[in-house]
Structure formats: structure tokens, C-alpha cells
């Protein structure tokens, strides 16, 4: 199979299909690719957006918290300033203490709400009191110990911190904290110096602290998504919190990268050096939120999409290609089968063709041609078959189970009516038609004549009834007419057919010089009736002998033959005729002949066979007559005279009569002539001799020869030549003739007659008699 596929390389049908499928596949792939590209771009921008969104979320969260812190600090400031806490000095009055306690109670409520802020304090240097969210500390050292005791921050350092001037800065401080002692908790503290209104003096410090871990929590969500590092930088670009360790040089690199964009509030995105950096600068706090993510992680989703898309593409191509091939092959399968089917019958080898289609086309074309050719042949055959069917119908040669209707339909024969008649056209002579032409062969001429007759007849017929002509058969063409059995009476139909036949006959004969005889049958019902009709027509045609040719003979014209009738040819008339011929008396012969014919032809309804017999009898007579004439060149004359052939040729009685006349004339003339010839001498002397000496039983050839004086051998030969039979036979016949006369006369016994006519004995007589006459003398006597 494979070889066959490759046979048409490179214009292989399979290949072209596969390629076309693949081409088709290219369209969705190309479109998908375009979409993918678009999608890739969209995804990338979305990733950027999402990241930035997260960062912004964190920024907003933290900003919100910072807002809280700021607000809290303001509230604390209120206490410090409005309530005058920061102005108090030691020793405090009871009232002041009470107010401190109240303030602290209030602080406690501030702390209850919100968990972002870890703790806060209000540092009052004048009274050396520190109010925290938990308690009031009269001794700052005590607080310091608590908060920073385990960190490295000394009391002095802390105090300095507290006394510093702040306008709202954030600082990193580590407090003592955590679940295990000596653990420190990194805190981010918001520092604000009071009074807020007076920037120069520092009367109190508000510190609001947030656990760094809490800040980290806000940005951890950002980090969790992308596994980079997220930082929060304060307004001075110092890191406040970071999810991962950032080395100082890394930090400076990051800051450098963003440097060209300034510190204006807004978002910036950079993708360079293998990392993607997003930065949002808060408008309210000027803090910066930076996320640094390695490009590979940042774009991981996009890359995955890309990988998937490309994999999908490859998969598509692969699968598509596979499918294309499989489907093409599957589709090729019937083509392959067709090829296989045709290759057996192809005239040309497959290699000669460009591709499968070409091969198939050519093979089919050949096949169609062949088919057409066969069709034509079939058509030809069909007409023959049709004719054959018609013939069979006419001749009644159909099997009982023959599917007649199908056959009729198959050959386009339709018989709308139920009855039939047969009309036979017998072609006598058409030499006149071809007189001017010539050189064409008999076959062609015949066909031409057939064609003419058929066309005319069928045309004429089909005006009234449906009729089909058979082909020529023995110079005969039969028209089968389908006529209504009911409706019109049979007579009307019959007369119409006769009319038609007559018209045809006259037209053909006159225009085309075709001599022919037409016989018309009666109407018969049903398919079986066809045979009857045909037989009738045939029989009727026979009667052209009687009625003559080149006419229309209808069956109705024929009369019921008289079965008993014979022809008129008595023996005495025959004898007259013989004698006449013998003597060469033509007039006498003619008289007799005329008489015979007259009587015969006057007889009514002579069966044709009877007429024929009469003819033959006449011929016989002549033959016998001539036989008896002993003339020298009888043979020669016989040959040229040829009476039998001539007579049998004649088909009608009239013609026969004419021929007889001619024959007789010739015979008589010949006899006459020969009678004059003296060369009948020897012959006559011998014959005379026999006539005189037949009674002598010793008569023999040698004796006669001696007597006459010729060689016996010569005599034997000569005699035979002249008479046509041997001398002994003539002798015997003469003897028998006399014997017969004697027997007829009666009065003598057989043995007497034997010796009388010259036989040696009665046995010889009886023998010889029987031989020539067929009966014994005794029997002949009885007749």
C-alpha cells in the first residue's frame, strides 16, 4: 500500500490532502498565536497591575494605620496640652495625681480599640512622669527598665531620644518583649514633640509604637504572592520594615534605580536587571513601599502561560498533524480502493499519470468510452433482439414462463391494444431501384430496401395503430399491428389494415420500384393470437402463386379449400401432350396445355399444394416425353433446356404456363430439328430392330450388334448415349409395354405373355416387370 502511495510522488493525493489539512490547521493556529500574543501582553500588564494593586493595598493599609497613629498622638497631645499635664512639676498635688489617673484611665480606653498600635506613651519631662497605655510611671527609669532593660539601649540614650525634637518621625527601637525573657521585639515608634503649636520648645514627647511584625504583616500579603522582598521606607528613605534581609548595597541599588523618578507621590514600575521593582510613594505619609521581585518569579504566570501556549501550540501541531495524516489516510482509503479496482483494468500503467485523480479520470474515461461503445453495440443488438422477439412472437416460439411484459418493455415494444394482425411484405425484386447506381454489394442494397420499406410501412401504420416491422428474413418483412379487439368491429379494423397495406404497397412499388407482394392476416386476440396471425399471413402469401405477385392478398380473400379436389390432368391428355412433343408438334402441344390450364384455373379454391403438384406433374410428363425421344444430342439439349429448374422458379400459375409454353416450344423445335437429322440412322435402325425383334427371347446386344453390323461395345455405348439408357433396358421396356398392353387386354396368362413379349421365362418376365413397374404382372393385371 505504501509503495502505491509514493508512486505519485511528489504530487501524491495523500500528501496534498495532508498538506491542505495542515494548511487549514494553520489558520486557527495563526489566529491563536495572534491571540496568545495579545493575551501574553495583557497578562503581563495585569500581573503588573495586580502587583501594584497589592502594594497599593498595603500602602493604604499602612497609611491608614499611620493616620491612626497620628490621630492618637494628637489625642495624647490634647491631654498633654489642654489638660496641662505637661506643665506640671513635682510635687504633684492630689488633684493632679487624680487627673493623671483619669488621663491614664482614658489612655487605657484608647488602647482597647484597634490592635495595630501596640503601645504609646506620653513623656512628661517636667514632672518626670510617663503615662503609658498601661500605667503611669513616676520614675522613668522604671519604665525604661521594663521596656528597654534587656536591650542595649541605656537609660541615658533613651532619655536623650525622648528629649529630642520630633515633628512626627518614625524610629526603630527594640523593646524588651516576646514570650521568652531577653527576647527583644523590634518596634517602630512614631515620635512627636509637644507642644505642637510651638516648634522650638520641647515640653513633652508622644511616642506611639507599633510592632514591626505588625507592619510586616501588612506587606507580607504582597510578598506571599510573589516571593520577593517588600520594604517600607520612611520619608527619609530609611527602611522601616522589610520582609526579608536587605543588604545596604542592595538597598542603595534599589534607591538608585528609583532615583530618576524622584520622590513624588505615585507609583513606578521598573523591570530591569532580572528584577521587577514596584514602588508606591504615599501622598499622605511620604513613605515608600517597594517590592522587589525576581523577574522569573514576577512573570512566572506569564511565562507559564507562554510555556503552556507554546506547548499547546506544539501539541496542536503534533496532534493536528497526526490527525491530518490519519484523516487523510482514512479518506484516501476509498481512493486507494478505487485505484486498486481500476489498476486491474487500466490500460496504462499508473506511473504514467500525474496523480491519482488523473489516473482515475483517464481510467474512467476509458471505461465510459468502452461503455458507450458497448451501449451502441447493445443498441444495435437491441434492435436485433427486438426483431428476434418480434420473430418469436410471430412464430409463437415463447416459453410459457417467458416474462413477456418485461421483454416488451425492455425492447421498447408496447402493445396498448389487445389484438393483433400480421402483414407480410415479400420483396420480389428491387433491381430497378439500383439500376442507376451499381457497384454496391447485395447486403447493403438489401439493407437499404429494408430500411425504405420499414420506414414507410411503420409510418403509415403508426398513424392509426401501433405497428412494428421485423427485419428482413428470406426476403420477407413482417409488420405486427396492434389493433383493438373491441370497439371497432373486426371488419372495420381489417379493412383499415387492408387499406393501409394497399397504400403502402402501391407507394413503395411506384416510388421506389420495389416489387413486392403483401399478405394480410385476419385480426386475432391476445399474444397467442400473434402466431395465428402470422401463420395466416404466411399461408396467404403462398397464394401469390395463384393470385400473382406485386399485389396485396388478404386472408379473407382466400376461400375454404375443397379438401378433396385434385388437379385436372387425365392420362389421355397427358398422352396427347407426349405424342405432341414426341412428334414435335407444338401447336398440338399448346392446345392440350391450354386446355389443361384452363380447366385447372377455372377451378375454385385450389389449395396451393395441389397446384404445385399439377406443375410437377407437367414437368414429369415432359421429362418422360423427352426421355422417350431418341435423339442424338439429347443430353446437351437437356442441359440447356433445363425444364425443372425453369418451371420451379415460377411462382405463379400464370408464369408456369408461360414457361411451359416456352419449354414446349423449345422441345418441339428441337425434336423437329432432330427428326430432320439423318443422323438418327443407327439409332433408329437399332430401335427399329428392337421393335421388330423384341419377341425374340434370344435377343442380345451382341446379336443386335452383329445383325446391324456394329461393334457391340460401341453399340452399347452409342445406344446409351442416345437413349440415355442401355439397350437392354430399352428392350425390356419395349417388351414390358407390349406386355402391359397384353395384360390389360386380358385373355392371356402371365407365362404366355412372357413368351409372347420375348422374355426367356415367366420368372424373368415377372422379375423384370416388377423392376420397372413396381408391381408383378399378376398384380398389374388386377389394377
Amino acid at each position: 500500500m505504501r509503495k502505491r502511495f509514493l508512486r505519485f510522488w511528489p504530487r501524491n493525493l495523500l500528501l496534498s490532502w495532508v498538506l491542505s489539512y495542515l494548511l487549514m490547521l494553520c489558520i486557527p493556529i495563526a489566529v491563536s498565536f495572534a491571540f496568545y500574543n495579545n493575551a501574553y501582553g495583557v497578562i503581563k500588564s495585569e500581573i503588573m497591575r495586580a502587583n501594584l494593586g497589592l502594594l497599593r493595598q498595603a500602602q493604604q493599609d499602612v497609611d491608614g494605620h499611620l493616620q491612626e497613629i497620628r490621630q492618637l498622638s494628637t489625642q495624647l497631645a490634647f491631654h498633654a496640652e489642654e489638660q496641662g499635664l505637661m506643665y506640671w512639676e513635682q510635687p504633684l498635688t492630689a488633684n493632679q495625681r487624680y487627673m493623671l489617673a483619669s488621663a491614664q484611665a482614658t489612655f487605657r480606653t484608647y488602647a482597647a480599640s484597634g490592635s495595630f498600635i501596640d503601645s504609646f506613651m506620653l513623656y512628661l519631662p517636667r514632672s518626670q512622669y510617663v503615662l503609658t497605655n498601661r500605667a503611669a510611671y513616676g520614675d522613668p527609669k522604671q519604665l525604661h527598665q521594663e521596656l528597654y532593660g534587656s536591650t542595649g539601649l541605656t537609660f541615658k540614650a533613651w532619655q536623650d531620644l525622648m528629649n529630642d525634637r520630633y515633628t512626627g518621625q518614625f524610629m526603630h527601637l527594640n523593646q524588651a518583649g516576646g514570650t521568652v525573657a531577653s527576647q527583644t521585639e523590634p518596634m517602630v515608634s512614631f515620635m512627636r514633640s509637644l507642644p505642637l503649636s510651638n516648634p522650638t520648645s520641647t515640653m513633652a514627647t508622644v511616642v506611639v509604637s507599633v510592632k514591626e511584625s505588625k507592619l510586616l504583616d501588612t506587606i507580607r500579603a504582597v510578598q506571599a504572592v510573589n516571593k520577593g522582598t517588600v520594604l517600607i521606607l520612611d520619608a527619609e528613605r530609611r527602611p522601616i520594615a522589610s520582609t526579608g534581609r536587605i543588604e545596604p548595597d542592595e538597598l542603595s541599588k534599589i534607591l538608585e534605580a528609583f532615583a530618576p523618578f524622584g520622590d513624588a507621590a505615585g507609583s513606578t514600575q521598573l523591570d530591569r536587571g532580572g528584577t521587577v521593582m514596584n514602588r508606591i510613594v504615599s501622598a499622605t505619609t511620604e513613605w515608600q513601599y517597594v517590592s522587589v521581585i525576581p523577574s522569573s518569579t514576577f512573570w512566572v504566570k506569564a511565562e507559564r502561560i507562554r510555556a503552556w501556549s507554546l506547548a499547546g501550540l506544539a501539541f496542536c501541531l503534533l496532534l493536528g498533524g497526526l490527525f491530518a495524516y490519519v484523516l487523510a489516510r482514512r479518506q484516501y482509503h476509498p481512493v486507494g480502493e478505487i485505484l486498486r479496482l481500476l489498476s486491474g483494468k487500466a490500460r496504462q500503467a499508473m506511473e504514467r499519470h500525474r496523480d491519482e485523480y488523473h489516473f482515475i479520470r483517464e481510467a474512467l474515461r476509458d471505461s465510459f468510452d468502452e461503455s458507450a461503445h458497448m451501449q451502441r453495440q447493445l443498441q444495435q443488438q437491441s434492435s436485433v433482439m427486438r426483431s428476434n422477439l418480434l420473430f418469436r412472437l410471430l412464430k409463437g416460439r415463447l416459453e410459457s414462463a417467458y416474462p413477456i411484459d418485461e421483454a416488451l418493455a425492455a425492447y421498447d415494444l408496447s402493445f396498448p391494444r389487445d389484438s393483433f394482425a400480421a402483414v407480410i411484405f415479400y420483396i420480389e425484386d428491387f433491381s430497378d431501384l439500383f439500376r442507376s447506381t451499381g457497384g454496391e454489394d447485395e447486403e447493403k442494397r438489401l439493407k437499404f430496401v429494408q430500411h425504405i420499406v420499414r420506414n414507410i410501412v411503420e409510418e403509415l401504420t403508426n398513424k392509426t395503430y401501433v405497428g412494428y416491422m421485423t427485419d428482413l428474413e428470406d426476403n420477407m418483412m413482417t409488420l405486427l399491428v396492434n389493433v383493438p379487439g373491441d370497439g371497432d368491429s373486426a371488419e372495420q379494423v381489417g379493412s383499415r389494415i387492408l387499406e393501409m397495406a394497399t397504400e403502402a404497397q402501391s407507394f413503395i412499388a411506384s416510388r421506389f420500384y420495389i416489387d413486392h407482394t403483401v399478405s394480410v392476416s385476419a385480426v386475432h386476440a391476445g399474444i397467442p393470437g400473434i402466431r395465428a396471425a402470422y401463420t395466416e399471413a404466411l399461408d396467404t402469401l403462398e397464394y401469390k402463386m395463384v393470385f400473382g405477385t406485386n399485389r396485396v392478398i388478404a386472408y379473407e380473400q382466400l376461400q375454404e379449400p375443397d379438401p378433396i379436389q385434385t388437379y385436372y390432368y387425365p392420362m389421355d391428355k397427358e398422352q396427347h401432350l407426349i405424342n405432341a412433343v414426341k412428334t414435335g408438334n407444338f401447336e398440338k402441344a399448346m392446345d392440350t396445355l391450354g386446355e389443361l390450364f384452363e380447366v385447372n384455373m377455372a377451378m375454385k379454391a385450389v389449395p396451393i399444394d395441389v397446384s404445385r403438384c399439377f406443375m410437377f406433374d407437367l414437368v414429369g410428363t415432359i421429362m418422360k416425353t423427352l426421355d422417350e425421344i431418341q435423339l442424338a444430342d439429347k443430353r446437351q439439349f437437356m442441359r440447356s433446356w433445363d425444364p425443372i429448374t425453369r418451371l420451379l422458379k415460377r411462382e405463379t400459375l400464370q408464369d408456369m404456363k408461360r414457361e411451359m409454353e416456352s419449354l414446349l416450344r423449345q422441345a418441339c423445335e428441337w425434336v423437329d430439328e432432330n427428326k430432320k437429322s439423318r443422323n438418327t440412322g443407327l439409332r433408329d435402325r437399332v430401335y427399329q430392330y428392337i421393335q421388330e425383334h423384341y419377341r425374340n427371347s434370344n435377343l442380345s446386344l451382341a446379336g443386335i450388334a452383329e445383325d446391324i453390323g456394329v461393334n457391340s461395345a460401341y453399340l452399347s455405348r452409342f445406344f446409351k448415349e442416345q437413349h440415355g439408357e442401355s439397350l437392354l433396358d430399352t428392350l425390356s421396356r419395349i417388351r414390358l409395354d407390349h406386355a402391359k398392353r397384353l395384360l390389360r387386354d386380358g385373355g392371356h396368362t402371365v407365362s404366355e405373355i412372357a413368351t409372347m413379349v420375348g422374355f426367356y421365362n415367366s420368372n424373368a418376365f415377372i422379375r423384370t416387370f416388377k423392376k420397372y413397374e413396381g408391381v408383378t404382372p399378376g398384380q398389374y393385371k388386377e389394377i
Binding site: A94, R108, A111, A135, Q142, F323
Partner: protein, 542 residues
């Protein structure tokens, strides 16, 4: 191509395509589901686990973190006991703790918010209006059937101890919580502690009378430079009964010969207040008392600013002593007897823990979707194994069994991270402060490692039984009563606190005390007393 291979190829191709599609979709889903799953598990799963077996339920649990615990853990879920309990029962617990120092505020917020956890552990008598109101409000649910069906251990204890049975119910017989049950002999765990080393140094004996106390404080101030000889917080002052007890009164309602009385309305209380004021003026009482928190208070003691503190034998004495001794080995505390006014008097108001503790009470809230499972889970703490877990922790880790006697391991007693036993215990289980379950005396014996602790225990136990007459049992009010009482108390308490502070700090002259009392009466304190009396009468009849 043969039919089979062609068919097979088609099938294979179809499967491949389908598989690819599914993988893509599935992949997407997985991506999306992961983060949301993560967040979902963190959030409350309270109502969402309907139909799941008890083995896999999770409950949310609100309780204040005890000082000992807050020092070592951030949440009780870190405590080994609860981890073990989860392993044993399959119940996962989400603990929610208020910030230290803001327990009251946050509790109120919790109740007000309506966003209740499944379980709240607190002193339900502190609920505005009391336990009946809590039931009436629907904050907590009645536990009678739940306990009967799911708590065999507790039911047994209730059957065996009439007092227990009485104390877990309201007057109407509704069981409103699952308690901490203490059936042992140690009932007094808190009292006043003086710095023994200072006393010794100053050649003073442990003071007995109020007068002694005053002198001792004065000596602390003058001779030891204590800036806050007696340090306290406003809360602690109100909590500890030793000072007003010397004057024959208690802080709130108490019994006097079967009659309910309101402390602050009594003359004895006035005297007590006057005393406090005196001490305040003199500088014997921490000037920042009303601005202190426990941490500050303790830090006063440990930093040498104070010499007298009210606290607990374990949590205060033990913990502080252990921690200070790291730097100051001489540090020593002594548990002093509750002061009396006159020599020979016996303190009447020694704090005595009833069989059912006033705190450590667990109520099941209306938000609980698995009350039966929760009760079952809590009930384990009343059974033998559960009690061992509660009091001793995990065998092998925190205690060893020897002759049927559990002994704490070094992990507890000599903690490698230098945690005091109290803190170590708090890290692994809940023995040394009120928490639901059955308490076990044997812990105390080991808990009080320091001899002074053992001494203190004896000292405090000495007159403990005398308070039975005076201490109001945990009476409960009807919802209507509760509401009325809540209203009254709401006003009264705020006023009381304010005025107490003012009086003590001297902002308000003591002379105005009577005005204060009449104001209280105007605030219907007598009605409140009436209500309490009625409740007590009912209680007595239970």
C-alpha cells in the same frame, strides 16, 4: 489501517484532548482555590462545619490570659495542654484573648458586638446583671441537658458534691457554666506579701494589726527609700478583702448574720477609705495606684520601690521571688496574715475559694454550633485523665508518675529558660490559676517550691473558714432582677470607683463620705441590697 488501531487512535486522541482540557481547567481551579482555602481555614469555622463528626470540629474560645500565662505564651493554643487535648479529642480550639490590662473593656466589647465566640471563660458574676441575665440575654445557653447527656464526669462530681451542684446553677436551677472545681484543702491562694528581707533588715516582725502595717510601711519608706511602700492597682485594691476586712466590711456585698450588706455604705468602709487616704497622703500608698497596672505594680516591688504587695502565693510570690533572686539573691517575701484592727482579732474576710471558683467558668454561647461536642470536650477535664492533663500536663514531658503520684519534671520546676514554676506551668497547662476542670491539691504541694510559699499557704489557710459566714455565696438573680441590678450597679460602680479614687487620693475630703453614701442610696443601692438579699434567701433554700 486496521479497524482496531484506527479506533484506538481515535479514542487515545480524544482522551488526550479531554485530559488536556481538564488539566487546564483543573490547574486554574487549583490556583484559585489555594489562597482562598488558606484564608478560609484561618477565619472562623464556627458555623460552617455542620454535619461533620465531632472528631473534626473547631471551636472558638474567649478568655483573659492569666498573668502567668501571658508572660510565656501569646495564646493558650500554644499551651501544651490544649495541644494534647486536641490530639486526644480531635477538637481544635481557636483562642481569642483580650490585650493584657484591657480584659474588662474587651469583654464588654465582645458581649456588645454580638460576635461571640463559641465558648467564653470568665467570672460570670461579673457579667452585667449576673449569670441569669447572661442566660436571659441569650449570651450563654442553659447547659442542663447538655451536661446530663455529654458530661458524665461533671455530672458525677455534681452528684457527689451538693455545694458544687448548687454553685453551678441559677436560682431557677439552670446550669449556666462549667466550673473550676476545687475539692482540696488548699483554698486560699492570695493575700498580702511583705518583703521579708526588708523586715529582717529593719528588725521588724511580720505585721499583724493595721497599726503594725502602717509602721512597717513607714519604716519601708523612711529607711528603705521605698517611694511606693504599699503598691497596688485600683483593681487589686478592690479585689483584695484584707484591708476592709480589718474593719469588718468587704468591698461589695457581704453577709452579716445572714443579712446582706453593701460594704461601701458601711461605716467600716469609710474607715478603711480614710485609712487609705491617710496612707496616700503620707506616701505609704503608691501615688500611682490608680494609674498602675499589674506589671507596673510588680515591677515596683521587684525594683525596690515597694515592700508590700497583694498577690498570689504562686503567681506573685513564687514568680517574682524567682525572677528577682537572679539579680538579688537576698530577696524574700513573706505571706502575712490578713490584718486586723485590734490585737487578738481574727480576720473575718480571708479569701476562700469556694468549691466552685468564681472565675474560670466556661459558658457555651449561642454562637456555638456544636454545643454537645463542646461540653463533651470540656468534660474531659473533670475526668481522671483530663484532670491530670490540666494539673500536671503531659506525662513524660511535664510530669512523671511514680507510685501513682505525679511529680513535675525539671521542665517545670527547674525550667531551662529560667521560667519560674508558675510561668512554666502556665506554659504547659493550667493548674495555677482558675481554669475549668477539677483542681488537684497535689500540684500545690509541688508548686510552692519555696518554703515561704508553703508557709504562706498555711498562714492564709488559718482563718479561711471564718469567712464562710461573711462571704456571699454565688447567688443568682432572675433576669428581671438582674436587669434592675445591672442598671443600679452600672451607675453605682462607676460612681464608686470614681469616688473611691477621689477619696483615697484626697481630691474629695473624707468628710463628704456621707454625702457619698446618700448619693449611693439615691442610686438605689438599698434596692440592690434587697435584690441580693432575696437572691441569698433563695440560695439558702436551694
Amino acid at each position: 489501517m486496521k479497524r482496531h488501531t484506527r479506533k484506538g487512535l481515535t479514542v487515545a486522541a480524544t482522551i488526550m484532548l479531554a485530559g488536556g482540557l481538564l488539566a487546564a481547567c483543573g490547574g486554574n481551579n487549583n490556583e484559585e482555590n489555594r489562597p482562598s482555602a488558606a484564608s478560609a481555614s484561618g477565619a472562623s469555622q464556627t458555623a460552617s462545619t455542620a454535619g461533620t463528626s465531632a472528631q473534626s470540629i473547631a471551636i472558638s474560645y474567649y478568655t483573659a490570659l492569666n498573668a502567668n500565662a501571658s508572660a510565656v505564651v501569646t495564646s493558650l493554643s500554644d499551651v501544651e495542654m490544649y495541644k494534647e487535648l486536641q490530639k486526644r479529642t480531635g477538637v481544635a480550639v481557636n483562642f481569642k484573648h483580650p490585650a493584657v490590662g484591657q480584659e474588662k473593656e474587651q469583654f464588654n466589647l465582645l458581649i456588645a458586638s454580638g460576635n461571640l465566640t463559641d465558648v467564653i471563660e470568665t467570672a460570670w458574676n461579673d457579667y452585667p446583671g449576673g449569670p441569669s441575665k447572661a442566660l436571659a440575654d441569650g449570651t450563654i445557653v442553659k447547659l442542663n441537658d447538655l451536661i446530663a447527656q455529654n458530661a458524665p464526669n461533671l455530672s458525677k462530681l455534681m452528684k457527689e458534691n451538693e455545694a458544687v451542684d448548687k454553685m453551678v446553677r441559677t436560682d431557677t436551677g439552670d446550669i449556666y457554666m462549667m466550673p473550676m472545681i476545687n475539692l482540696g484543702k488548699y483554698r486560699s491562694f492570695d493575700g498580702p506579701f511583705f518583703r521579708k528581707d526588708w523586715l529582717d533588715e529593719l528588725g521588724l516582725k511580720t505585721p499583724k494589726t493595721i497599726g503594725d502595717w502602717e509602721n512597717t510601711l513607714r519604716a519601708f519608706k523612711e529607711k528603705k527609700g521605698a517611694t511606693a511602700p504599699f503598691t497596688a492597682t485600683a483593681k487589686k485594691l478592690k479585689e483584695f478583702t484584707m484591708l476592709p476586712g480589718a474593719f469588718g466590711v468587704s468591698h461589695g456585698y457581704y453577709l452579716d448574720g445572714g443579712k446582706v450588706k453593701y460594704g461601701p455604705a458601711q461605716d467600716g468602709y469609710k474607715q478603711y477609705i480614710a485609712l487609705m487616704n491617710k496612707w496616700f497622703k503620707e506616701g505609704l500608698l503608691d501615688p500611682d495606684t490608680f494609674a498602675n497596672d499589674t506589671k507596673k505594680m510588680e515591677s515596683n516591688l521587684t525594683s525596690g520601690k515597694s515592700g508590700l504587695i497583694f498577690g498570689y502565693i504562686g503567681g506573685t510570690m513564687g514568680t517574682l521571688t524567682t525572677s528577682v533572686r537572679q539579680t538579688d539573691p537576698k530577696f524574700e517575701l513573706v505571706g502575712a496574715q490578713y490584718p486586723v484592727l485590734n490585737d487578738g482579732d481574727k480576720p473575718q474576710f480571708v479569701k476562700r475559694d469556694p468549691e466552685v471558683n468564681a472565675s474560670g467558668q466556661v459558658g457555651i454561647t449561642k454562637a456555638n454550633a456544636h454545643p454537645a461536642e463542646t461540653v463533651k470536650w470540656l468534660d474531659t477535664l473533670y475526668g481522671e485523665d483530663g484532670a491530670l492533663l490540666k494539673n500536671f500536663g503531659v506525662e513524660g514531658l511535664t510530669y512523671t508518675m511514680g507510685n501513682g503520684k505525679p511529680t513535675y519534671t525539671d521542665l517545670i520546676m527547674k525550667n531551662p529558660d529560667k521560667l519560674s514554676p508558675a510561668q512554666a506551668m502556665a506554659k504547659y497547662f493550667r493548674a495555677n490559676y482558675p481554669s475549668p476542670g477539677l483542681a488537684d491539691d497535689r500540684y500545690i504541694e509541688q508548686y510552692y517550691t519555696l518554703p515561704e510559699q508553703q508557709e504562706a499557704a498555711k498562714t492564709f489557710a488559718e482563718y479561711a473558714d471564718l469567712s464562710l459566714e461573711h462571704v456571699l455565696p454565688p447567688v443568682t438573680l432572675t433576669p428581671e432582677e438582674s436587669e434592675e441590678l445591672a442598671q443600679i450597679e452600672g451607675e453605682v460602680n462607676t460612681y464608686l470607683d470614681e469616688m473611691t479614687a477621689k477619696f483615697i487620693m484626697g481630691v474629695e475630703p473624707i468628710d463628704n463620705y456621707d454625702k457619698f453614701v446618700s448619693q449611693l442610696q439615691k442610686m438605689k443601692i438599698d434596692r440592690a441590697v434587697e435584690l441580693k438579699q432575696a437572691a441569698y434567701d433563695r440560695y439558702a433554700k436551694r
